[in-house]
């Protein structure tokens, strides 16, 4: 009790603006979220979503580190060019948890696309950007989400206007620094538009408090098509906590793709709310763990509107004492009709000592539905290996082929320009181990 009081005292003194001159409304939202963070107890382990990972892992080791986060540095380019390479429409960088740099090609800025660091975007446009902040992942979402809303100091805001097609992907490079990293991504896509976002977490965690806490909110307007790729390639000393929520309106579609290879501990809570009639959400996951890595992925598809479609396909490969917990929820609300929801989780256990848990959950409150889910776990089929070896394929190659064959049905579902990214991630990881 006394420690709690001390922390509160400290906070009263220590909770400070993100930057001199921070607008009141931003400060107020952050301050309220901070109070919510302090008053919420740690999540209870009895909930399936916390069953396999201790919530303590994501607490800041010391409160001072939290209270002394770097202030926001809106343009950290420091005069350096940071060019947009030809394969992208825009590139954003988060460097060392303080500098945010965003660059767009002239073509897309001419179309009215807004791509900025989130602090500047909010400060300059309370009436628009401010409407979306925390609407999907707010302070009441959970303790760590409240913490993020209170203390975020890096991240991006992306706005794609109506009737705008961005053909090349928009890349966001996220490099957490040594500190407890608080990133926030807010994406708002208007009507009848198209965009591809690659959200790439990579790098080394340097200090003794190597936790990243990231929140992603995506709004997909009527008839828009958005592809969101979340790559997690952090170093093996990192622990990362990512909460992603998207809302898809009428006839809109969102493909969410998760590739996870890095981090010692990686917890992701990804969900899509199918909010408009005919909304379509697909999630694909390729997770490859080794060396005692712990992945804890939760997916959620919440069907709030009729004729909405969702599909989840998660493939997990584990070796060398790695373990994975996959929990997934499909909820179909009352008074919806003709929703379809599918969910599949397959786990390939390459050697001894690995562990896989799977809880694919369904909550169906309407009768006009088609809903199935499936989960499997097992080693490489010895007969497949035998067959390949008997044809003269070396064992190492045979394992590669089988692992490739295991993830290929998932990879082949995602847009073809993104397939090589995931395929290479799997092969790289496999290659380095064999």
């Amino acid at each position: 009790m006394t420690t709690q009081t001390t922390i509160l005292e400290k906070v009263k003194i220590g909770f400070r603006p993100l930057q001199p001159g921070e607008p009141d409304w931003i400060y107020r939202i952050r301050r309220e979220a901070w109070d919510r963070y302090l008053e919420q107890p740690l999540p209870e382990r009895v909930q399936n979503i916390w069953r396999y990972t201790a919530p303590e892992s994501f607490l800041a080791k010391n409160i001072d580190a939290l209270m002394n986060l770097y202030p926001v540095v809106p343009d950290g380019s420091n005069g350096k060019p940071y060019p947009v390479t030809p394969e992208y429409a825009a590139i954003g960088y988060n460097l060392d948890n303080r500098m945010t740099v965003t660059k767009m090609t002239p073509e897309i800025s001419a179309k009215g696309v807004v791509f900025k660091d989130i602090y500047s975007a909010l400060r300059e446009n309370e009436g628009f950007a401010g409407r979306f902040l925390g609407k999907l992942v707010g302070a009441s979402f959970g303790k760590f989400e409240a913490l993020n809303l209170a203390l975020w100091n890096t991240g991006f805001f992306l706005y794609i206007p109506d009737n705008t097609v961005i053909e090349k992907p928009i890349l966001m490079n996220r490099h957490p620094g040594g500190q407890f990293t608080m990133g926030r991504l807010l994406v708002v896509v208007g009507r009848n538009s198209e965009a591809t976002i690659i959200d790439d977490y990579a790098g080394e965690c340097r200090l003794e408090d190597p936790a990243a806490n990231s929140v992603v909110e995506i709004f997909v307007g009527d008839s828009s098509r958005v592809r969101y790729v979340n790559l997690q390639r952090l170093s093996s000393r990192c622990s990362s906590y990512i909460t992603q929520r998207a809302q898809v309106e009428q006839n809109g579609s969102l493909y969410s793709i998760f590739g996870a290879m890095g981090s010692a501990l990686s917890k992701v809570n990804a969900g899509t709310i199918l909010n408009g009639k005919g909304a379509d959400s697909r999630m694909y996951g390729v997770l490859f763990g080794d060396n005692g890595q712990h992945f804890d992925y939760h997916t959620m598809h919440h069907h709030k509107a009729s004729e909405s479609y969702s599909n989840i396909d998660f493939k997990v490969i584990l070796k060398d004492k790695a373990n994975s917990a996959y929990t997934g929820l499909i909820r179909i609300e009352k008074e919806t009709a003709n929703c379809e929801a599918y969910q599949e989780n397959r786990n390939l256990l390459l050697n001894k000592g690995t562990r896989a848990e799977s809880i694919p959950e369904l909550e169906i409150l309407a009768d006009q539905v088609r809903c199935t889910h499936g989960a499997t776990m097992g080693p490489i089929d010895p007969e497949m290996l035998f067959y390949l070896e008997s044809r003269g394929v070396a064992r190492v190659e045979a394992v590669k082929m089988i692992v490739g064959g295991f993830v290929e049905p998932t990879i082949s579902q995602i847009p073809s320009d993104l397939q090589p990214v995931l395929r290479n991630l799997v092969l790289d990881k496999l290659g380095s181990e064999l």
Partner: protein, 476 residues
């Protein structure tokens, strides 16, 4: 009769036939009716009246302390769970002083109850033995002589403790200790009745052993305790069926069932639970299967307000097998929170879980399951299949399967499907001259057929009849 009718109308979604067929009740004529509520005094009284050995009395007291200390589960239907008022329940009622030795000794009003349930006929036809639990004591008990000669012990649990204390003491609460969960602790403190079965090594009990349970007193909890031990290489099939009169206030039923299948033994345990729609049925059922043993749970949940029941098989010996086959039917106001658990703790073990659920009229059916494979349980196989049928838009179906696989070289498969009755199927059947109701019933009977075909014939017939009653008026 008038009073009964009034009360019946308070219970939602029970077909009229149901009330007439199962909803009768007798005036409460009890030899002893203890006070409501639970305390160490009540536990002491129960133990003293049963003239139990000291170790059992101590066991009950310890269990009560555990019950006090354990919090309510924080998962499942917590709203309904927290509505249980433990102070408003009778924990022990003894209908007559001694157990009926023969059919003639059984009091007339109890006979009448059994007649309407059809027990004596069933027994005359082919049953091996019947322990019919009326209130908390077993009042009637019969046994075929040849089984007795072979050394099969089939008694109510209280008599089992009196006559075979050594066996009971050796196995009692070894599968489900009181600290397993709050309701197992409660049962351990106040248990009364239930069945005790011991099958000697190598014996194949060819005819199923059966027991009927009934609840008949308002606000009265039944806390049966069943213990079945199949010794090495033996085989036994036990059948438990339940119906209950209709009452207006909630009644608690919290049984503990422990099965031990020793090396190479086979146990099948069949239940059809059809409590009235105001009863809380919170049951702990668990089996241990030793080397090369097989345990099969066949579990049907039709009645009750809230059922929480997850029959479990612990596969502790190499080559052990477990199979759990269940159906749940959730009508208006009902929540069937049922499922299965398979714990693989030895190599080369296999388990199969098949679950079917039907929700209608605002009912909620949940499948909640656990499959756990421990690190050394290599080469284990698991298959889980859950199918759910939703009859209308007001109903709900949940699937909460948990799979924890800590071993390699295992094969796990899980599948679940939720759908409504397909319009094409109904169209096809109605075009062949069936009414829509008949068509729907036929489809549902087909849906649960993998379950019914595992039941003895008269149970399958009864189950189909029950489903028919539950489905009445569901179309429109």
């Amino acid at each position: 009769m008038e009073e009964t009718k009034n009360k019946n109308t308070q219970v939602l979604d029970i077909g009229e036939n149901y009330a007439e067929k199962y909803g009768f009740r007798d005036p409460e004529e009890y030899f002893h009716k203890g006070a409501k509520g639970i305390s160490h005094e009540v536990v002491e009284m129960i133990s003293r009246m049963k003239k139990e050995p000291d170790w059992m009395r101590d066991f009950r007291h310890k269990a009560l302390d555990i019950f006090y200390a354990k919090p309510m589960p924080k998962w499942g239907n917590t709203e309904l769970l927290n509505s249980i008022n433990f102070a408003d329940i009778y924990y022990y009622i003894k209908p007559i002083e001694a157990q009926g030795k023969s059919w003639d000794d059984v009091p007339e009003y109890i006979k009448k109850t059994f007649d309407r349930l059809g027990i004596p006929e069933a027994e005359r036809k082919f049953l091996a033995g019947v322990t019919a639990q009326y209130e908390s004591e077993v009042v009637y008990h019969s046994f075929k002589e040849d089984l007795e000669k072979q050394g099969v012990i089939f008694l109510d649990m209280d008599s089992g403790l009196r006559e075979h204390e050594d066996i009971v003491k050796k196995y009692f609460a070894t599968v489900i200790p009181p600290n397993d969960n709050k309701f197992a602790a409660l049962n351990s403190a106040v248990w009364s009745g239930g069945s005790f079965i011991y099958v000697p090594p190598g014996l194949d009990v060819k005819i199923p052993l059966q027991a009927y349970f009934r609840i008949n007193a308002e606000n009265m909890g039944q806390f049966e305790r069943t213990l079945i031990i199949a010794d090495k290489g033996s085989r036994v099939h036990y059948i438990e069926g339940c119906t209950a009169p209709v009452y207006s206030t909630n009644s608690l039923h919290s049984a503990v069932v422990e099965l031990l299948a020793l090396e190479g033994a086979y146990i099948r345990y069949t239940t059809i639970q059809n409590w009235a729609h105001n009863i809380f049925n919170l049951v702990t059922k668990r089996a241990v299967a030793h080397k090369n043993a097989t345990v099969e749970w066949v579990d049907g949940n039709i009645g009750s307000r809230l059922t929480m029941k997850f029959p479990a098989v612990y596969l502790v010996g190499e080559g052990a097998k477990g199979e759990i086959l269940s159906i749940a039917f959730a009508g208006n106001g009902q929540h069937q929170d049922a499922g299965a658990k398979a714990i693989h703790a030895a190599p080369n073990t296999s388990s199969r879980i098949t679950s079917k659920s039907i929700s209608k009229g605002g009912g909620r059916a949940s499948y909640r399951g656990l499959v756990k494979v421990y690190p050394h349980a290599t080469k284990s196989k698991v298959s889980v299949e859950c199918d759910a049928l939703l009859i209308d838009g007001a109903s709900r179906s949940d699937t909460y399967p948990t799979m924890e696989i800590d071993a390699d070289e295992v094969r796990i498969e899980h599948e679940a499907r939720v759908s409504k009755v397909a319009e094409e199927q109904i169209f096809y059947l109605t075009s062949r001259g069936l009414t829509e109701d008949e068509a729907r019933l036929l489809i549902i009977n087909g849906f649960i057929e993998p379950f019914t075909k595992e039941l003895p014939m008269e149970y399958a017939v009864e189950l189909n009849r029950l489903i028919e009653l539950e489905m009445e008026g569901s179309v429109g």
